[in-house]
């Protein structure tokens, strides 16, 4: 998506605040609540592209870092980022970037699903690494606690993100053709 600077500047904060809203929307799946955060992480990459998507997630982390209650469960502060689940949050930046770079090539449903799956995998990699560090380096336990319970939810989230992104991208494309006027 080639957009003028002003459009890019208005869209990155939007996705930062969408991820913040997603942290408060939880689906009760099994023992752990699954939030819609990663849905918006994937969407930010798919809609904004790699660089801007990563920027929007960095903005989200910055909001939480300075004390706004934007992380899951209304938490905030630097200790959330350094805590056991902080790796997932740092993974949002990398995940949005990877998803965005892969989705920049086109907007077929298959391509969006693959890019979303790759982005989710990146979020998991960073998340599990930090979780394992907090569990005294017990990598297997980290995978059991931090990946397995979330897999079904994430599969659905990737599919949903791809469906939504296709619609939104088509709309943005029409807007771009009209020169970004409403």
């Amino acid at each position: 998506m080639r957009a003028p600077k002003s459009v890019a500047i208005a869209l990155a904060p939007l996705f930062a605040s969408l991820t913040a809203a997603g942290a408060q929307l939880a689906l009760p799946v099994g023992p752990v609540p699954v939030t819609l955060q990663t849905l918006f992480v994937l969407l930010s990459g798919m809609v904004l592209g790699g660089k801007l998507g990563a920027l929007s997630q960095a903005l989200y982390l910055f909001l939480g870092l300075i004390g706004l209650p934007v992380f899951a469960g209304g938490r905030a502060g630097p200790w959330v980022l350094t805590g056991p689940t902080g790796g997932y949050l740092l993974g949002f930046i990398a995940g949005a970037y990877v998803t965005g770079r892969l989705a920049e090539g086109g907007s077929s449903l298959g391509r969006l699903v693959v890019s979303g799956a790759a982005g989710t995998a990146v979020v998991y990699m960073l998340g599990v690494a930090q979780l394992a560090y907090w569990l005294q380096g017990d990598f297997n336990k980290a995978v059991v606690v931090g990946v397995v319970p979330f897999l079904p939810g994430d599969a659905l989230k990737v599919a949903t993100a791809a469906l939504i992104a296709r619609k939104v991208k088509a709309r943005l494309k029409r807007l771009a053709e009209r020169g970004w006027s409403l």
Partner: protein, 258 residues
Amino acid sequence: MSRVFDIFRFRQKKTPLHSLDPRAKFAILLALSAASLAFSDPFSLSLLLLVEVILLKIAKSLSELISSLRGLTSIMILIFILNYLTLPSGRLYTSIAMSLRFLSLATAFSVFFLTTTPDELSTALEVSGVPREYTMMFTMSLRFVPSLARDLQTVSDALRARGLELERGGLRERLRNYTYLLVPLLVYELRRSLMVAEALEARGFGAVRKVEPFYELRFRAKDYLTLALSCCALLIIALLHLTKVYSVFTSELARIIP
């Protein structure tokens, strides 16, 4: 839980701390958080907490800390239990220290955010060399979060009025319900973002490379004094941490407390 964040929300008051330059206050924050990370014994951390309480007292914001103390204590108890169960030795000592460290870190941040407006913060970022686009995005996200929460409520009310039960059904059904919620919400928010973009263009955003900040920041004598004091504190903390003095002190303490 929401009470916890009262200690991070800015409140307009007339105190010496409120009128300090945000960069000087940032130096205080840096010194306080460095101290809470460098010290790891209950005694020093209590002393640090006392300093922070005095600072909040100067800022006339002690009542905010007290009102959010209940939420903070629940997190402190959680940290205490987690440490107590996982540590091999010196459990009581370290567990108390870790919960105190959390409280002093939270209080350090509250000293900064209770007394600094978001506008001051973004101006300070801009003056410190952060590009204008980034500070712009920062202030815009600050404003987007509450309005997005409101729009989310509007769209879900509209769906409920049409008979859709968002909170019902299994995972798949619920996720489908969320697409009904999210597509209109996203389109609505994208439209508004593009309006903001148009407003930026209309005001000639990006036309001039160097823009004077709206608020003027000026370093006065008391700001220099604060900065100097914070730097001294940082230096002392670093010296205590690097030299053997502090580790001898903590090992003595650890012998007394189990």
